[in-house]
Symmetry: C2
Subunit: 458 residues, 2 copies
């Protein structure tokens, strides 16, 4: 078993295969081109913010721990070619410069994603940082300087998706004046614009300057080579540090060169067993694959550690001769900016239109606890259901404590293909510290039922 990529998907696959096969029955070699394996990239914003103290806290399992379980993990070693016909991969040891071929019976491709880095003037200025890897995070922390020097200094975050808003919080916590430059109409383009607007307003309230419709045109460095400002078509923003949070795309160059099938979003195409289509002994998982969107009925690309871990489990089971499948996703994501919570699952309005579904929506205001209970905070729940059938299509929630994870209820309902009318009868936990007597999700379902039935009825 040869694994390309030593992070969540690859090492989960290796570990699961080792667990099922026992310590000796399978030779496992894993190649990782970077300095770290099995770490939580999703945790980087919280390390940069100071919430997580030590980089090593983000490392789930060290190379030594993998090796102790008889997984031959080769760090700083990049696979530079896959020879499908010859069932072998070519590896480059980045320390020694040595290259060599290794044969495989079973191959697992877990090459992950790479950050989108627009080719803009000045991108190589000192103080411009991605936050994709632990190395990136360390470089940013080194570049930020001491916290006591932060007040009055400016951090510009480019992008207002999950990474962008999480990094905005991180830089705010580090004492910077934070500006988020967002190309889109509203922050969080994974939400509908009406819900994104709530995020924008909340970010204003937190003291984060968010500029929508701001396409970055360049980065201007000072004579010392360090970033001084970020320019858009409209104006220039002073910047002592720039964080790029523009998203990622599947890292599949190697797989493409090997002739493996890649989809419309650039990710490898697999079957539900995570086997690369048309290739009996090659699996792929994590940020480099496309997954089936169970609601839209189409394939899409989502880079998320929780999916990567599931893929790895499935691959490891199958490689070891067991059985596992990854049926697909419903598009659940949760995030926060300081005490603002954001959750979403399923289709946005524009996703529904894109796949030819007609729909109705309803948006309600509720609270995370009984209204009379201390700390009851408002939340806004938007629900989308198919026209006529009333089948749930999506839910978006923006609010405070208890808002984000409430989308999990909708995620299960989407998976089960429930209608919003069925959802109104769901037996969700109720007690005043945890929910109003009608949970916000139930309130939204009731209102959406009324929308499905047409105006007037309730």
């Amino acid at each position: 078993m040869v694994v390309i990529g030593g992070d969540a998907a690859g090492m989960s696959a290796a570990s699961q295969a080792r667990r099922l096969k026992g310590p000796d029955a399978l030779e496992i070699v894993a190649f990782e081109r970077g300095h770290f394996a099995s770490y939580s990239a999703c945790g980087i914003p919280y390390w940069v913010s100071g919430d997580v103290e030590r980089r090593d806290d983000l490392i789930a399992r060290t190379p030594q721990e993998h090796r102790a379980r008889n997984i031959d993990l080769r760090m700083r070693t990049e696979v530079t070619r896959i020879d499908v016909a010859g069932r072998r991969v070519r590896a480059l040891d980045r320390e020694s410069g040595e290259t060599y071929w290794t044969g495989y019976d079973k191959l697992v491709i877990a090459t992950g994603a790479r950050p989108v880095r627009p080719a803009l003037p000045g991108m190589d200025a000192a103080g411009v940082h991605g936050v994709q890897t632990l190395d990136d995070g360390q470089a940013l922390l080194d570049s930020m300087g001491a916290p006591e020097n932060a007040p009055g200094r400016h951090a510009v975050v480019v992008g207002a998706g999950y990474i962008g808003v999480e990094m905005a919080e991180a830089m705010l916590k580090r004492g910077f004046e934070v500006t988020v430059l967002n190309r889109g109409e509203q922050p969080m383009s994974t939400l509908d614009p009406d819900m994104g607007r709530l995020v924008h307003e909340a970010m204003d309230g937190l003291g984060i300057v968010t500029v929508d419709g701001a396409a970055v045109t360049g980065i201007v460095a000072g004579p010392d080579g360090r970033v001084r400002e970020v320019t858009t078509e409209a104006r220039a923003y002073p910047a002592d540090v720039v964080v790029l949070g523009i998203g990622v795309e599947p890292e599949t160059a190697l797989a493409r060169e090997a002739g493996l099938p890649v989809g419309a979003h650039g990710g490898l195409l697999t079957d539900p067993a995570m086997r690369v289509r048309g290739h009996e002994d090659i699996w792929a998982g994590g940020d480099c694959v496309e997954v089936l969107d169970l609601v839209a009925g189409r394939s899409r690309h989502i880079a998320l550690g929780t999916h990567a871990n599931k893929h790895g489990q499935v691959i490891g089971s199958n490689v070891a001769g067991g059985y596992g499948t990854f049926p697909g996703v419903v598009g659940t994501a949760v995030s926060k900016v300081c005490d603002l919570e954001i959750g979403r699952t399923g289709l946005r309005e524009k996703d529904a239109r894109a796949v030819g579904l007609r729909y109705v929506t309803a948006t309600v205001e509720s609270t995370g606890r009984a209204g009379y209970y201390p700390g009851a905070e408002p939340m806004t729940v938007k629900m989308i259901a198919e026209y006529r059938t009333g089948r749930l299509l999506g839910v978006q929630i923006v609010g405070r404590e208890g808002a984000a994870k409430r989308v999990d209820v909708a995620a299960v309902a989407l998976t089960a293909g429930m209608t919003v009318e069925q959802m109104t009868a769901l037996d969700l936990g109720y007690a005043p510290p945890f929910s109003p007597v009608w949970d916000p999700v139930l309130v939204a379902a009731r209102r959406t039922v009324a929308a499905v039935r047409g105006a007037g009825a309730a």
Copy 2:
């Protein structure tokens, strides 16, 4: 439309019917024998604790507000007879002593539940209080005296179910030394004993003395007529205040006398439209009915405001000529004792045995946030699945922040009839502040899959 009982189920039914019918098309009369209508009995512990400041905060809608919507709500008026053949009810005005008959076309029975009050010596001593109604709560608060006098005084809570543990927290917050006398093997008999034990341990840690296997034999009053101690077979416990939190049973004497069908648990039997079985024009809902347990396939009695509100909605819709059904419950309940959270849904082991199901279980330890994220608190998740088929049967969670409401995911999965293997692929929200990369429910599902498959496999 005549409604007997002016709390959650009855007034929800009246309000929904009024909403659908418009202000004038239906005459609605509602009788409430107490001083309050439409209030949150579930909120009483938090009012007693001081978390909720004012009694009126617990009142969702005043009698005046109901009357303003053309609902003729008659307070302090008890229905003393239902004449099914004559389609009329006899009312007793408790202020004036006057009785009169009122005819109905549609009758709604929402008589609620009454607290179980064991016939023990000394129960009428001053300082012995139930917490079923707002009047009860006020009497308890009056009886407790000023907070500055609390230290060193003893509160004995009889019963360790939801009300018992919530009242233990309330009395602790008010500064009392709190002892909980629990007849059962462990607190929270709605949990399996292994999970109840965790609650016991946590209550110990909070400084609440919990005595299991303690059947109260009597209450001893001092010469002033005020409670002085509570006795069990084993010993006597000093008590300045006694709170009875022993649970409730359906209040159906009136309905029984009228010949309406009552089930094995003492609750009225209805069809899914909440129509009393065999009676075209009589509906019943809330704490006085039995509901279908969708997992066990049997009827049971659950007194919970969230169900009562749903029943009322369904009844109001149907009385108004619309359509609504209440398909049943899966037995979800959440509670907390200080920062300890408790959630449960579906069947306990003994419930599964009682309905002849064979099952497997798995119990896992996890955290509510990524392990490295500040404030990640432990939680224990127990999952029960049917032997062979792997169908989810129940989930119990005991932990800290984020533990209780996680049962909602299982509640939806139970409703959808999912297997634990299907659950392992659920797309639940992941980000470090909200969940480990494998949500605790997914970890439990994976472990339960292994249990279903038999030892060894994972």
